[in-house]
């Protein structure tokens, strides 16, 4: 194992130095990679929160979470197409709210159908059910909205770019980062300051004892799914705003990446998930240029998903507790 580790590190170093030596990208390029990485990273972070929170209370992965994310994007799509004329930030708020509500509702349904019935069993049944739910969601959306990509009606006030310290940064990316930060702060306050948050932490710590203290753990689990789903829904809307296209199968890769981010930060660890998401986003946007092009690999951006998945596998192998450690290191099944 040590040999593999050393080999990996050497490989990364060689790739980095050679890519930098090639000097293929200008400083401007690197900055825009960075901002894009932050944008992507904040979306990953929002998705990964759902994984991490559900894992915290259930010790299980919500396999359908990627599709909960996708459902949020499509829920808001209905509004974006029907909505009243006029352009204002209110529309953005409405989109986010509808996306969050759709995803929260879907997450609750997933919990009810796939996780609640198997609460006391430790086998693979919930996981297989969740895989089923994930397919139902994908093909339902595909049936409802068609096979091609759809896009929100253009929001003019999100167009254009802002100049920060001499570099042009697309405005929409700044908005995405800002919304994600606000959502994460709100979530952090919810978990750390409110009564509900305390209940969640108690259930995550020890469900039986929490139940003995009078906490309705079933309800807390449902709410946890809903809150995690709402975050994914917001992420879905933000994704649609940045990439300007949504399709029924986009939840798949985003789901794996969100999970990768959650594992990167230590699953069950909420601040860790946020950091993990940002790191993954940056890694994905810098990685192909900084690492792969050094090896003379043609069109490295085709492989950017492979980087994210590879990162996931490598972390799972060498440091399954993540960079910041699981919040609950004990009681791993």
């Amino acid at each position: 194992m040590l040999a593999i580790r050393v080999a990996l590190i050497i490989l990364i170093c060689i790739g980095l130095t050679r890519s930098l030596a090639q000097n293929e990208y200008s400083r401007n390029d690197w900055i825009s990679f960075g901002v894009f990485g932050l944008t992507l990273g904040s979306i990953y972070a929002l998705v990964s929160l759902g994984y991490t929170m559900v894992y915290g209370v259930l010790r299980m992965i919500n396999f359908a979470h990627g599709d909960v994310f996708m459902a949020g994007a499509f829920g808001a799509f209905i509004v974006s197409d029907v909505h009243v004329a006029g352009q204002s930030f209110l529309i953005l708020v409405a989109l986010l709210a509808v996306g969050a509500a759709t995803s929260a509702a879907i997450a609750i349904i997933v919990e009810r159908t796939c996780y609640r019935p198997f609460q006391d069993s430790r086998n693979l049944a919930p996981l297989i059910c969740a895989i089923g739910a994930s397919f139902i969601l994908q093909y339902t959306v595909r049936g409802l909205f068609g096979t091609g990509s759809r896009a929100y009606r253009d929001l003019d006030f999100l167009e254009g770019s802002v100049t920060i310290a001499g570099y042009a940064v697309p405005f929409v990316q700044l908005i995405v980062i800002a919304v994600a930060i606000v959502a994460m702060i709100l979530l952090h306050l919810l978990v750390s300051r409110t009564r509900l948050g305390r209940c969640m932490r108690a259930v995550a710590e020890d469900r039986e004892t929490a139940a003995l203290m009078g906490i309705n753990s079933d309800r807390v689990i449902t709410i946890t799914f809903a809150v995690g789903g709402a975050m994914a829904g917001i992420a879905g809307v933000l994704y649609a705003l940045v990439f300007k296209q949504i399709h029924a199968f986009m939840g798949f890769s985003l789901g794996i990446k969100g999970f990768a981010a959650a594992v990167l930060g230590g699953i069950g660890n909420i601040p860790g998930a946020m950091a993990g998401g940002i790191l993954l986003g940056l890694g994905e946007s810098f990685g192909p240029a900084a690492l792969l092009s050094g090896f003379g690999i043609a069109s490295p951006y085709q492989l950017k998903d492979a980087i994210a998945y590879g990162l996931l596998v490598i972390i799972l192998i060498f440091r399954p507790q993540g960079i910041f450690g699981e919040r609950l290191a004990t009681k791993r099944m």
């Binding site: 209905i78 049944a125 049936g143 085709q302 492989l303 492979a306 996931l312 192998i317």
Partner: protein, 535 residues
Amino acid sequence: MPYPLINPTLKTIGMAAAVSGLLAVYIVAVGIYPAFAARQILPPSLTLGYLMLAGVWFYTGWTYARSGSWLNGGIGAGTTGVVSGAVYVSVLELAKTENIQGIFVSLSAPTINSAFFGLSGVTAFIVIPLCTGVLSLAGFLIANTPSRVRSCFLSAFVGILLAALLRDLWTALFSNLTGTRRWASWIYAAGGLTWIGAAVAALAGVAFQFARSRRMDNGGRGGDIGAVVVFVLIAIVIPYFTNAFVAQVMLLVGLYALMGMGLNLELGLAGLLDLGFVAFFAIGAYAMALLSADAPIAIARLTFWEALPIATICAALGGFVFGLPVLRVRGDYLALATLGLGEIVRILVVSDFMASTLGGAQGIVAVPRPSLGDTPMTSQLSMYYLTLALSALVAIAGYRLRHSPIGRAWMAARDDEDAAATLGVDLVKSKLKAYVLGAAFAGIAGALFASTLGSVFPQSFKLDVSINVLALLVIGGLGSLPGVFVGSLILIGMPEFLREFGEFRYLFYGVLLILVMRLRPSGLWPSSLKARGEI
């Protein structure tokens, strides 16, 4: 739907009506209804689409079966049906007036018109709820008949459905068997069944049900062996007496059964959920193509028989490489880690980076068929028999493995890792063996696939394959060998005849996965140990 209350209250009726009404709307809006409406069951009016919608309300009434008295249940079922029909009509009417057809692609005006049985306006609002009420009441009444009558009714229904949906299979069979050539024209009219055909199919269903309940009454002893023999005979005979299309479908079924047996070792016996299973299938196929293809990209020109063992070994090696690090990861982590690995393989194969060695998106063509002696096996039928023979070999191997010490070690580790480790099972080693053997089975399937198709393309190795294999395994019964074949027949074979399912195949898979896990976790053909309650 959990509404078996003693006295259906207004609230339960409202809930049930809302759920079933919206379910019917869902069937229309998601596009299942329009696709199914194209398939005739009993021309001119009864289509699969109507049957599907009718099924919703029929089942709604069925759920009232245990609500105490006939009067209570009947009133509950009838009212629910009427309200639910009203919900259905009003929501779809709303979809018609509000111009939201740009959003929901399936809700076109002709579709809604057909979903309203051609009625419109006030007539639709009166007639449809009445019909749904009657359907729901019928469901309730039939649910309350004695169990023999009920099962006769259901099997007659299934008989008609199978006769109508598997039309291609039956007509091919009739036209190839001597003496039955004219049956097809009696049973099938243009597009669907004739009334005579429906009656015959219903009778056949009932007869089958009688035979089955006879056997059950006799204790069902020795039934497993008998059923296996019947299955094997059918598998050998049917493709011979039908056409190349059926052989082709059965070939696919066989390939998936091969993979299913591989995943069965990993998931069914060792409890390792592997969603990157397609990678091994791909390795087998690409190894076969690179070793034997008549193309500049190939590295050798071996025959099929020389390349098959090498391809199998390549896949097994792939299993080893993937397994070595990943198996230290536990349960649900493993699912996502393997998912990631499978995707990495696919991305690499499609990328320009590997295009010079693997052919990129263009794939590799001109993979030869195997030959027996000097005659190449050009027909689908011969390839099918080859697949069948190989899967029989693999099935025997799987059976032996299961009852060997390593098989017992797998099952022990699956049921309780700590206990198994305490009893001296080397967890990593035994899991790795499951992984390697499972991968080898998938490699055989991949090699056969490449040779049958004569080419390999990266598009053939998507995640869908892994999900298909997982689904057929779960639905057949985890850990059960005959279950693999039954699952493969139902999930891979049937949809080929039901072209309407095409788009919605995975939707139904999803529903089936959840239903089987919740209602019948041991699958359609449980493994014998499970059936005897030993697991």
